[in-house]
């Protein structure tokens, strides 16, 4: 009985570790968008609420709620911030009276659908969730799979 409990606990904890593994992310825009490449600086500005205009169109970022695996990975790899730093960053901006954080959507499916609907929308999703309505955007000229792609989990 004891051994069975230990095995059960071990399996549960091990499965937790496996679920926590970040999945590779890709930056996406709607099919038909003229955006093919964004620099890390542009992505950082866009997701910290500074205006980024490409070909005359202002990009509208969509994010995930704090603490989700996608959000934590993106904030770390592109913004260079831990979840604690991100929390402080947005509280401080709010107190200064600066513009609000990008809108957070509840799930990857929401992001997929809304990015496909609005030509100016930009977001990031797990690579295995890309649909035919979306186009993957290179970061600093590097596409997913190539060496040096910034959103590859480390």
């Amino acid at each position: 009985m004891c051994i069975r409990i230990v095995v059960l606990v071990t399996v549960l904890l091990a499965s937790g570790v496996a679920e926590g593994e970040p999945r590779p992310l890709v930056v996406v825009v709607a099919k038909g968008s003229t955006v093919k490449n964004l620099t890390r600086t542009e992505l950082k500005r866009c997701f910290t609420s500074s205006p980024v205009v490409i070909d005359g169109e202002r990009l509208v970022p969509f994010n995930y709620p704090p603490g989700t695996a996608e959000r934590v990975a993106f904030d770390r790899l592109i913004l260079g911030m831990s979840p604690e730093e991100v929390g402080r960053f947005w509280v401080d901006r709010k107190i200064r009276g600066e513009s609000a954080a990008p809108r957070a959507l509840p799930s990857v499916l929401h992001v997929v659908k809304i990015v496909a609907k609005f030509p100016a929308a930009v977001s990031y999703i797990p690579a295995d969730q890309v649909t035919a309505d979306l186009v993957i955007v290179a970061i600093d000229g590097v596409l997913p799979g190539a060496a040096g792609y910034l959103l590859r989990p480390r």
């Binding site: 904890l13 509208v60 509280v91 401080d92 499916l109 659908k113």
Partner: protein
């Protein structure tokens, strides 16, 4: 016992064991699943449905470590004191895609003051809800109120009362966002007006990897009640240019300037002229022309935070409008100061951030402090952030006022809890 041990080391074992590669994720048929996701109303730039109400507050403890006979004890409360400092409330609303309303008010215990005859005045009134027992009441300070219109991505126009866009500290005026308990002395001296009322245009434009930000203001300028009346018909102008660079993960360099006229005078009076006609007369009062300049640099690289500002103000009283103070006339001249703050945020012990601030100020000559007095000040402390919305601070400050008439040390110990809500 063995069971307990196994349970305890299970996570480590699980992490150490090579995890069998997970089967490739099964991508659900997107069209079927996505059709169930409701994105109605999820517009990219929607107006707010409700007013957003939030704010910040702080409570501090302060002890001045100076002899009660020291001159500093005449200027600052010498008893060790708990105090409620800021209680600020924001009400903001995005009215539509391009229009935004912003209000910030500060609740005060004021007016509590030392009167001219050196007694303390407090405000009480009979409380009708409590058998007319005395209740203390206070005031409200309108910190910011403006309407904002975003013309395009690079140009936004504000009309109303706003914080003067200069340097780093004046915009970082919320106690949870600032690192020490108190602002540098030179910031508190308002060499630039802290708030102004009028028009403010601002924007930003990327130039390669750089971002150029600008601000320009046209306002009533400094005055005794600048939010509601310009006493001299002379509008003040100001501006700021900031360069956000990619160097060292992000270095910001800024230059600010301001030019205006201050006027404070008695109210108009009706007199009789030589012809016996009633005429309106405007007394001269006190008036000076001033300009202020400032430069600042901010480096925020990972856990390292360094910021520095240099600020100067030149003041020239107009002919016949010089202010009279204790000991004579107020002088013209140049007032300047500079500080540098360095801090490093650790990722443990409630995200503690040790910090240090050095400051040097060159004051204008005055009857009290003599010719060209100086202030040298240093501060060291800890800033804890146990939660993004909660900041705990403790600091020690030592300063020396040096002038031909006064050499006065100043020491203080302060602690503060500030929070955003």
């Amino acid at each position: 016992m063995r069971t307990v041990l196994l349970v305890l080391i299970a996570p480590a074992l699980a992490a150490a064991q090579p995890v069998e590669p997970a089967p490739p994720p099964v991508t659900p048929p997107p069209t079927t699943v996505i059709d169930d996701v409701d994105i109605a109303g999820l517009e990219p730039s929607p107006a707010d449905e409700h007013v957003n109400i939030y704010g910040f507050a702080d409570v501090s403890w302060r002890a001045l470590l100076i002899p009660r006979s020291g001159l500093g004890a005449n200027y600052f409360p010498k008893e060790n004191t708990f105090l409620v400092g800021n209680v600020n409330l924001y009400a903001t609303k995005k009215l539509s895609k391009r229009w935004r309303s912003f209000l910030e008010v500060r609740f005060l215990y004021a007016p509590i003051e030392k009167t001219a005859d050196s007694t303390f005045a407090t405000t009480t009134a009979p409380d009708p809800a409590d058998l007319e027992r005395p209740i203390s009441w206070g005031g409200i300070s309108i910190e910011r109120i403006y309407l904002e219109y975003e013309v395009n991505e690079w140009l936004t126009v504000q009309a109303g009362s706003f914080l003067t866009p200069y340097g780093i500290w004046n915009v970082d005026h919320g106690s949870p966002t600032i690192i020490p308990v108190t602002r540098p002395y030179i910031i508190g001296e308002s060499l630039f007006p802290a708030q102004q009322t009028g028009l403010h245009v601002y924007g930003a434009r990327p130039v390669g990897e750089f971002l150029v930000k600008y601000d320009a203001t046209l306002t009533n300028g400094r005055g005794p009640f600048q939010a509601v009346r310009d006493m001299d018909d002379n509008k003040a102008i100001g501006g700021r240019l900031e360069l956000e660079t990619p160097w060292l993960d992000g270095v910001h360099v800024g230059l600010s300037g301001y030019r205006g006229r201050f006027t404070n005078r008695p109210a108009d009076v009706i007199t009789v002229d030589a012809a016996g006609m009633l005429v309106n007369t405007t007394p001269a009062g006190t008036s000076y022309d001033e300009y202020s300049v400032g430069a600042d640099v901010l480096l925020h690289r990972g856990p390292l935070h360094v910021q520095a500002e240099v600020i100067g103000n030149d003041r020239r009283f107009r002919s016949g409008a010089r202010e009279v103070t204790r000991g004579g006339f107020t002088t013209d001249g140049w007032y300047s100061g500079a500080y540098v703050l360095a801090a490093y945020r650790l990722d443990r012990w409630w995200q503690v951030m040790p910090f240090a601030v050095l400051e040097v100020d060159r004051l204008r000559s005055s009857a009290d402090l003599g010719n060209q007095p100086s202030i040298y000040q240093w501060t060291a402390g800890l800033n804890f952030r146990p939660d993004p919305s909660v900041v705990l601070k403790v600091q020690y400050t030592e300063a020396k006022i040096s002038s031909p008439t006064v050499v006065q040390p100043f020491r203080a110990l302060m602690a503060q809890a500030a929070w955003a809500f």
